[in-house]
């Protein structure tokens, strides 16, 4: 639409100019012919040789545009006439004869005085029809119209190609950006296979998304993992425990929670330093992980506190056996550089749905159970019993 609107003034101006230019050219042509005729006919006029004059006028037959040519004597009286074929002789109005041109909508006329040397011997009036001229203009209009259409067609085709190559990929990239921003999904990618700036943009974009994704993963790790032991941390534990409780309630299985508190870790930490302390914690984590099954989740939830989430537990006996193994493992000495550390651990166990039906309850029960284990002399495990709470009080 815009293109058409832009073309309209161009076309009108071009047409207008062509019309004037062609008309001017046609008039020039007529003037040239008039000059030639009057030159050739001057002598015949001077000598009143009418047959010679007519002969000269008849040469106009070669110009199909010329509709009429008239010779007048110096006083303006009629002398001789040439009419193009098929035209009826028209009356001649002779007023104010003077060298000049006239253009009207249906014809052009040129009036010239004929001279023999410098002596005026008569007048030549020559008229041409504008039919051929209008034909030419018609052709011009058609050509311009067709070329305009072709131009518009080309422009549209180019625009389409432009859209396909540039706008479409850009739109897709924009859509991707919005999607990523809204859904925070940094795994999406938009591939644009072209060896130009758009392709480069798409590549850069995808790379950026990858970096963000990696950062996310790392942040995730930081958020959910304990740097020292590489175990999951409290945040992860909370979510995972929530999940375990939900699964137990929904599917009717048994989920268990173990709280593990290291007995003499603080002493080691104070004596050997924090670096050794970290080393020790790592070793503890390793041992715990070794003792447990693959699907069991071990987390570090505090300075020397660990938690284990167990799902699909068949019976509490199994858990007890497991806890015993862990206590035994923790009781073994740990090798640290040139030292040996004996720490030990106390374990409190709670189960859902046996002891609790929400995570908070489950945590509370496990906590109580652990304190019971500690008060019973450490280095052992305790499965929660409701009457522990009374003892606490």
């Amino acid at each position: 639409m815009v293109i058409l609107a832009a073309m309209l003034p161009i076309v009108s101006v071009t047409l207008g100019y062509e019309y004037l230019a062609v008309r001017q050219a046609a008039l020039k042509e007529l003037q040239v012919q008039a000059d030639i005729i009057r030159d050739n006919v001057a002598a015949a006029l001077a000598f009143r040789d009418i047959s010679a004059a007519k002969e000269v006028l008849d040469t106009l037959r070669a110009s199909p545009n010329i509709s009429r040519a008239v010779l007048l004597l110096p006083d303006g009286s009629f002398y001789a006439q040439y009419m193009a074929n098929g035209k009826a002789p028209q009356a001649l109005s002779v007023a104010n004869l003077a060298d000049g041109e006239t253009i009207s909508w249906n014809g052009m006329g040129v009036v010239r005085r004929a001279y023999l040397k410098h002596e005026a011997v008569g007048w030549l009036l020559i008229e041409s029809s504008l039919d051929a001229f209008y034909m030419r203009i018609q052709w011009y209009v058609m050509v311009i119209f067709i070329s305009t259409l072709a131009g518009v067609g080309c422009a549209l085709w180019l625009a389409r190609r432009l859209i396909a190559r540039i706008i479409d990929p850009l739109s897709r990239l924009v859509a991707l950006t919005h999607h990523v921003a809204n859904k925070e999904d940094y795994t999406l990618r938009e591939i644009v296979e072209s060896k130009d700036e758009i392709g480069d943009l798409s590549q850069a974009f995808n790379t950026m998304l990858s970096h963000i994704h990696e950062r996310d993963v790392r942040l995730n790790q930081l958020a959910y993992y304990d740097n020292v032991t590489r175990l999951a941390n409290r945040h992860y534990f909370k979510e995972r425990a929530e999940q375990a409780v939900g699964n137990a309630l929904r599917y009717g299985g048994r989920s268990c929670l173990m709280f593990i508190d290291l007995d003499r870790f603080k002493a080691v930490n104070d004596t050997l330093g924090h670096d050794m302390g970290d080393e020790l914690l790592r070793s503890v984590a390793q041992r715990l992980t070794h003792t447990l099954r693959n699907n069991d989740v071990v987390c570090r939830i505090g300075g020397d506190e660990f938690a284990v989430i167990l799902e699909n537990v068949k019976s509490l006996n199994d858990v007890a056996l497991l806890a015993q193994k862990m206590v035994h493992a923790l009781a073994q000495p740990f090798a640290l550089d040139s030292h040996q550390a004996l720490i030990g651990g106390s374990i409190g166990i709670s189960a859902c749905p046996d002891h609790a039906h929400t995570m908070a309850e489950l945590l509370h029960c496990a906590d109580i159970a652990m304190y019971q284990a500690k008060s019973l002399g450490r280095g052992q495990f305790c499965i929660y019993r409701a009457d522990f709470e009374a003892t606490e009080q």
Partner: protein, 175 residues
């Protein structure tokens, strides 16, 4: 009544005659001839001359009335026409164009001899024999004039006649 008419007739007749005598227009034939003479002059190329005057001479009978003198002052080849009547043959050599209306053959022959090969355009009035040696010979035909050209003679006199002129001649004697 009748006497009145007769009287009116008697008085009007002399008036008519007088009127005619006063306006006495030149015979159209000679007006045309004068025009033709001028045209011939225009369509001829003469060798250069230092003079400002183009002497257009008449040798013989003057039947032109005012027609020939009307050419006075008109321009030919950058010179102004001066119409003269030749009294003595020698004067002929001053002329650029001589219109010969002399009827005596002997006289015409003498003029032609005197002129010889001088660049003078000789135009003969009708009635003169072709052998008079004139370059252009005029004669009436129907209601216009026709002319014959002796191109040989013009060549001898070093005069150049335009092809436009030759084209319109009824006859051209080539060199």
């Amino acid at each position: 009544m009748i006497r009145r008419i007769l009287l009116w007739l008697v008085f009007s007749l002399p008036l008519g005659l007088v009127a005619q005598a006063q306006t006495a227009p030149a015979v159209p034939e000679y007006t045309m001839k004068a025009a033709y003479i001028y045209n011939f002059a225009l369509l001829t190329t003469w060798p250069a001359s230092p003079s400002n005057t183009f002497n257009l001479c008449l040798y013989g009978q003057d039947s032109f009335g005012p027609a020939l003198d009307a050419l006075n002052g008109k321009e030919v080849s950058g010179q102004k026409i001066q119409v003269r009547r030749i009294e003595h043959i020698e004067d002929a050599l001053q002329c650029r164009l001589i219109f010969i209306s002399e009827t005596s053959n002997a006289r015409v022959a003498l003029l032609v001899n005197t002129i010889g090969r001088a660049p003078i355009l000789t135009v003969a009035d009708d009635g003169l024999p072709w052998t008079s040696g004139a370059m252009i010979s005029l004669a009436p035909e129907n209601r216009r004039l026709v002319f014959e050209v002796n191109a040989a003679a013009t060549k001898l006199a070093n005069l150049q006649l335009s092809s436009k002129l030759l084209r319109l001649a009824s006859r051209v004697v080539s060199p």
